[in-house]
Symmetry: C2
Subunit: 194 residues, 2 copies
DNA sequence: TGTACATCAGTGAACGCGCGTTCACTGATGTAC
DNA sequence: TGTACATCAGTGAACGCGCGTTCACTGATGTAC
């Protein structure tokens, strides 16, 4: 039986998350509604209620999936880079910027107030994973005199701010800088010698 | 005649902008509506239509006012700092972070996609003014070999990202770093000697 | 100073819209025997 | 293999809500003479 005209969808939960991401990309956060997601999956708009406890819970599940994609893009880009610490760090940051550029609204969602105010174990796990990638790449360098985490805080701030500000080309600062190399803004750090 | 029960308000336009900022602070971007703003000013919800060409135009006017406050806080904080370039830069950045912390939703609004996609001369002027402050403070230092603007791009990215990430305490990175000094993340730059 | 009149800046009722949620229902699935 | 039955995962109609916008209106203001 290959037809999809069954009463039971069978995989509705992940299908809703995936459709949510599609709509996010197409229409932005303000265009995302439970009803549109249901329509896109081809299901009645009351169906999601059987899988998510309200709209915010679906948003949180979408954000968790977003963090997975985010981590994946950073990791892939870092793995493709040369072996030296600076190349690894630049690779990771390119993945960061690539995610922000290719998934603009999803990027906005995963860092949004709405999502962060809603405690969720899975979301916590997925966001932590992204942070771990960043932290372990920064650990290739000598720690700053200000503490172990200060390199990660600096790098994360830098790349996050750059991603946000560049997200829309209207930002006057970037008018003629469409392709600013990361080399230009990443500070010099001392690789560990061990 | 001191009573305010006149048919004509007299100063409705600025009053609407100011009430919009109040609601933003109290309820966030998603809580901001034309109707709520009108109620707060004590005027019928159809009145704003005589002063703004739709909701988005009011949002843009609020954002322009936001940029003014933003510039003002950066400038005041910079002026209070010691005379050496690094103190000036740190002062400016403290003003940046202060605005983001004290006007969280307004900070979000002025950098939002909705607002930036709506061309407006006054908004342009006000946002440019904020950028000028940043640029002129970065100009106290030797330009980077990557170009005149690269210092400003780096500093802006850094402080903007830091402001965003710290905006909600849930961000794991900042768990025990409530008062991270800017000294910790600002890179060393060479002051001009002239 | 007084009158006529155009213009401005409000009112309040009504409109249609999309939204999240609820609810009784029913078809599909899985399990016990 | 077949039957009875509980549970699961959908449907579709209905609800109430807040929203931005429109519109005929009217009171207030300012100006010409």
């Amino acid at each position: 039986m290959t037809t999809q005209t069954r009463h039971h969808h069978g995989n509705l939960r992940p299908a809703l998350i995936s459709a949510g991401i599609d709509i996010l990309e197409a229409e932005g956060i303000s265009g995302l509604s439970l009803r549109k997601i249901a329509v896109r999956v081809g299901v009645s708009h009351a169906a999601p209620a059987h899988h998510f406890d309200g709209k915010i819970a679906l948003l949180v599940a979408i954000a968790a999936e977003g963090f997975l994609i985010f981590s994946q893009m950073m990791e892939e880009s870092r793995d493709k880079a040369a072996a030296d610490p600076r190349s690894k760090l630049i690779g990771l940051c390119q993945g960061y910027l690539g995610f922000a550029a290719q998934h603009e609204a999803l990027f906005e969602l995963i860092f949004s107030t709405d999502v962060k105010n809603h405690a969720d174990e899975n979301l916590e796990k997925c966001s932590m994973q992204a942070f771990q990638l960043l932290q372990e790449t920064c650990d290739l360098f000598e720690p700053s005199p200000h503490g172990n985490r200060s390199n990660a805080i600096m790098i994360w701030s830098l790349v996050h701010g750059y991603a946000c500000l560049r997200a829309n080309n209207k930002m006057v600062l970037f008018e003629n800088e469409t392709n600013t190399p990361l080399e230009m803004i990443l500070p010099q750090m001392t690789p560990k010698t061990t």
